[in-house]
Symmetry: C2
Subunit: 311 residues, 2 copies
């Protein structure tokens, strides 16, 4: 909250605050039905990895895409919380020494630095598992068929053919496996990698609104086109931030991508073409939502926010 | 298969062969609907971690508990395959250097030895995610409400209040965290730890038959009592094997528990009391299934098999 608070930012902040409160309840110390106990150190690490930070942009996309159809906010927040669990688990595992070996995340020590590697691995596993627990609860949606559709969609987005697969392609591109060196990826390969690593969860966020609403096929396709454009824009903006951003604002070390020879769209296209692509993607996102009329204004602002962010 | 093949062992082997074939199809190289691509190295590691080994005792429990109610075998096999994905992911992550640091599993190099740590972490994440994907598919059950109940039950069994929490308690008992030393756990603490670490998935296996069949409350409670007894028996037998077993039969290093100061029921009770407890647990398992009459004979043999196994 600050003097420059726009209507868009207050809606983003509102979702963040509600998501935070919901995750706080979901990660309470007391075991729930079907659980034996919740070990204190594990809960502490899972809370550390998921509370108190982040813009909660993925939950925002779920909530605002669901709002197009007047889905109860509770349903969208539960779905957003599940998605945030997956996002946070992926950060914890990606930061591990065997992966990206990062010491800072949102300006704080990463989970394995704050705790230890074993605890970080288990906290990630626990968050991933909790995501599916959350989606399966009646509070997420009264219709079991809708909840199961969310489970399928999130599993496909997060799994071997989505986010996890994307991280594997990213490590391979860096030449991290025995007997290989860094790969020079072309535009198509970079696009596939990013569509999986970061794009899949962002697409799921937009898809989720349509699933929760049992929307028509053409409405779902519109949301997927929007989600795909936002996902690509998000990644290009991220890569530009890594190249040009201020580490004190970004909250993690910058310039690492170039140092690690990371495959980025900015690396493939160059800075000015990447910026032009970013503008085209925002226009695509806007176009995709045209069928929803003025109700989609907040999502269009979301796409612009992603492209313009400085942290 | 050998000359001493009993009817019990042929049924166990049959489930193992069907589970193997099913996992082989589920882990095909071709992406499915909602996936972008399946990176070759990731699929290879996930297949390495889940195919070609194991007695598939958990899928056996699912299939034979479901068979009490004449649930279609396909449903039980899909559920068993999902459960086996969770079991195999947990082995891959538990074997990691930051966790139990094991080099051998079923007589073969562990996943991080065969590949590398990053690939092993991602293969585990991918298997856990795939488990929920599998449960969510219509082939698992025609009724979405049944599938969602499986998702909830597996998530609770596998997550922070079940298996993942149990591994955390196990590491804590070994004094693995900074500023702590090995703990001398009492019988109750050891029982809780094991009910979570290994018991939860075995209980889920037995519970799953009742969920797939929409069984009555008392039928489900009977299966849960059976599953709980089998889970405890399984762990005591495992601890006895570690103490007395032949490493060439067991397929992993033995004597490690004592060396690591692991909290085991054998350690708490002593060998002869642990063996007496094992016999009582088999009797309890048998008693729990009395309401099902002779149809439950194979599950009772399963409990005896767990208690008597030498590898």
């Amino acid at each position: 909250m600050n003097a420059k608070q726009t209507p868009f930012l207050s809606r983003l902040d509102a979702v963040a605050a509600e998501t935070e409160a919901l995750l706080d309840r979901l990660l309470a110390a007391t075991p729930i039905d079907g659980e034996t106990s919740r070990p204190a150190r594990l809960i502490e690490a899972m809370r550390y990895a998921s509370l108190g930070g982040g813009k909660r942009f993925r939950p925002f996309l779920v909530v605002e895409s669901a709002a197009l159809f007047n889905v109860p906010r509770q349903s969208a927040l539960m779905t957003g919380a599940a998605l945030e669990c997956v996002h946070c688990y992926s950060l914890v595992h990606d930061d591990l020494p065997a992966m990206d070996n990062d010491a800072l995340r949102r300006g704080q020590p990463t989970a394995h630095k704050k705790f230890d590697e074993a605890t970080a691995i288990l906290a990630g596993d626990g968050l991933l598992t909790l995501a599916f627990d959350i989606l399966s609860r009646p509070q997420t949606h009264s219709d079991a068929a809708v909840r199961i559709e969310l489970v399928t969609a999130l599993a496909r987005a997060a799994g071997l053919g989505g986010m996890v697969g994307g991280q594997m392609l990213d490590l391979a591109a860096e030449g991290r496996f025995a007997g290989t060196g860094p790969q020079r990826l072309g535009e198509t390969d970079v696009r596939t990698l990013q569509a999986m690593k970061t794009g899949a969860l962002l697409r799921f966020a937009c898809q989720a609104g349509g699933i929760l609403a049992s929307a028509t096929r053409s409405q779902r396709e519109a949301l997927e086109r929007y989600g795909s454009a936002v996902g690509q824009a998000f990644q290009i903006a991220d890569d530009l931030l890594d190249l040009e951003g201020d580490p004190t604002l970004v909250g993690k070390s910058t310039g690492k991508d170039a140092a690690a020879g990371k495959a980025t769209m900015v690396g493939v296209l160059g800075v000015s073409s990447a910026k032009a692509r970013l503008n085209r993607l925002v226009a695509e996102a806007e176009q995709a939502l045209a069928p929803f009329g003025p109700a989609a204004a907040i999502l269009i602002e979301g796409a612009k926010f992603v492209a313009d962010r400085h942290a």
